[in-house]
């Protein structure tokens, strides 16, 4: 796979993941450049504070993830372990199990597009804000355009809980550690610039627009610095909740190892 395509897919999939699941998968999805088959493992550390209409507090998490890619196709999974402070109540627990599969549909010199299906399994405790309480299906499309040091990318998808719900009831966004609506259009857009010596910087935005069911629009903005050396990639990211109450501020440290 060409390096430009690889970067495009990595960033685009990272954006999708960020829109659908707290930006935890982007780095674990791809192996070393030009390797037809690759296995990746990553660990993310996350810390955030939040202040929604009915909940206030903070949380920290450790999110291991694994991914496997063969040619155009990739699969992966992640499961977070969190400590959350919720209106004065401290709890520990796992979040929802996230599983994804993606396929690159088109790849040319500067353009890469693909499809992705993400599924969350409700393994996290809903009452503590660690889980959605329902299985979520999140199909999406992604695209990336690369020119020189710059990669611009975007994604859009539909996320829906597998549950019978009243359209007139405001289900809000949940869970606290990974907020989304029960039914929404998820989107993301960003720009990545390679700065040399394996260092790159990214700015991006992501969000969700409720559809079919009552909910709340949200937008987050993020700035990221990453660097790679050999088989290891590391990144730092700071996110801010801009619209809605996804969180006040959140920080991520990500390290991925490619085999």
């Amino acid at each position: 796979m060409r390096m430009a395509s690889r970067i495009g897919v990595v960033v685009a999939l990272g954006l999708i993941a960020s829109a659908a699941h707290a930006d935890h998968h982007g780095m674990a999805m791809m192996g070393e450049a030009d390797e037809p088959t690759a296995f990746d493992a990553s660990v993310d550390l996350v810390a955030a504070s939040y202040n929604t209409l009915t909940e206030a507090g903070d949380y920290e998490g450790v999110l291991p993830a694994v991914g496997w890619r063969h040619g155009r196709y990739g699969v992966g999974a992640s499961l977070g372990l969190y400590r959350i402070m919720l209106n004065g109540l401290g709890e520990h627990g796992i979040g929802d199990l996230m599983i994804h599969a993606d396929a690159m549909v088109y790849s040319h010199e500067h353009i890469t597009t693909g499809v992705m299906m993400m599924v969350s399994v409700p393994t996290g405790e809903e009452i503590y804000g660690l889980g959605m309480g329902h299985t979520m299906l999140m199909p999406s499309l992604y695209g990336a355009w690369s020119a020189g040091r710059v990669t611009v990318n975007a994604s859009a998808g539909f996320s829906r809980a597998i549950a019978q719900m009243e359209a007139g009831h405001d289900h809000g966004v949940w869970p606290l550690v990974d907020p989304m609506n029960m039914s929404e259009i998820a989107w993301s857009a960003g720009c990545d610039v390679a700065l040399g010596r394996g260092v790159h910087g990214t700015v991006r935005a992501a969000g969700g627009i409720p559809v079919a069911l009552m909910g709340h629009e949200r937008v987050i903005g993020a700035a990221r610095a990453g660097w790679g050396s050999g088989r290891v990639d590391t990144a730092l990211e700071v996110q801010a909740g801009l619209v809605g109450d996804p969180f006040t501020i959140r920080g991520l440290v990500e390290t991925a190892l490619h085999f």
Binding site: G57, N87, G88, L89, Y128
Partner: protein, 152 residues
């Protein structure tokens, strides 16, 4: 597979998910009757017995033991703001018997004083009290209120 089926059956039968009780107020609401449930003769005492050690507007966020903000039951208007939630979590009626609260999310532990630590097993409302709660809510939400918390 057998264990999975059993697990789903237990969850389905546990009534764990919040469900509206389907309780309806008699029409017309017999508010003048001495046995009619009101905030003064039922709601206040119920809330202060089972709820307000966590669900109170007097408590800062850090002392609520997980109780959602704006779910404050130390006033009638506070209860009415989220009457559906109260019914779905604690009330008993023809369509559901909800036992999630008090103690849901805290493994049945409650503070013995407002804003305190989870130092005792939660006091449990009786079946009659849970049924009366749903009936009181069904009627109280239909009454007009003057903003002070009193029914007109």
């Amino acid at each position: 597979m057998y264990r999975i089926v059993i697990l789903f059956a237990l969850v389905a039968c546990s009534g764990a998910s919040p469900t509206p009780t389907g309780t309806e107020c008699a029409d017309p609401d017999p508010i003048t009757g001495t046995t009619t449930l009101t905030w003064d003769n039922f709601g206040h005492d119920f809330m202060f017995e089972y709820c307000t050690n966590c669900h109170s507007s007097d408590l800062p966020n850090s002392k609520r033991n997980g109780a959602p903000i704006y779910h404050d039951f130390n006033t009638l208007l506070g209860v009415l703001e989220v009457a559906d939630h109260v019914d779905e979590q604690t009330g008993w009626g023809p369509k559901a018997e909800n036992n999630f609260m008090p103690g849901g999310g805290t493994n049945g532990r409650c503070p013995s004083v407002p804003g305190g630590s989870l130092d005792e097993d939660c006091p449990e409302p009786t079946a009659e009290e849970r049924t009366n709660l749903a009936q009181w809510l069904a009627c109280e939400r239909l009454r007009s209120h003057d903003g002070s918390g009193s029914a007109n």
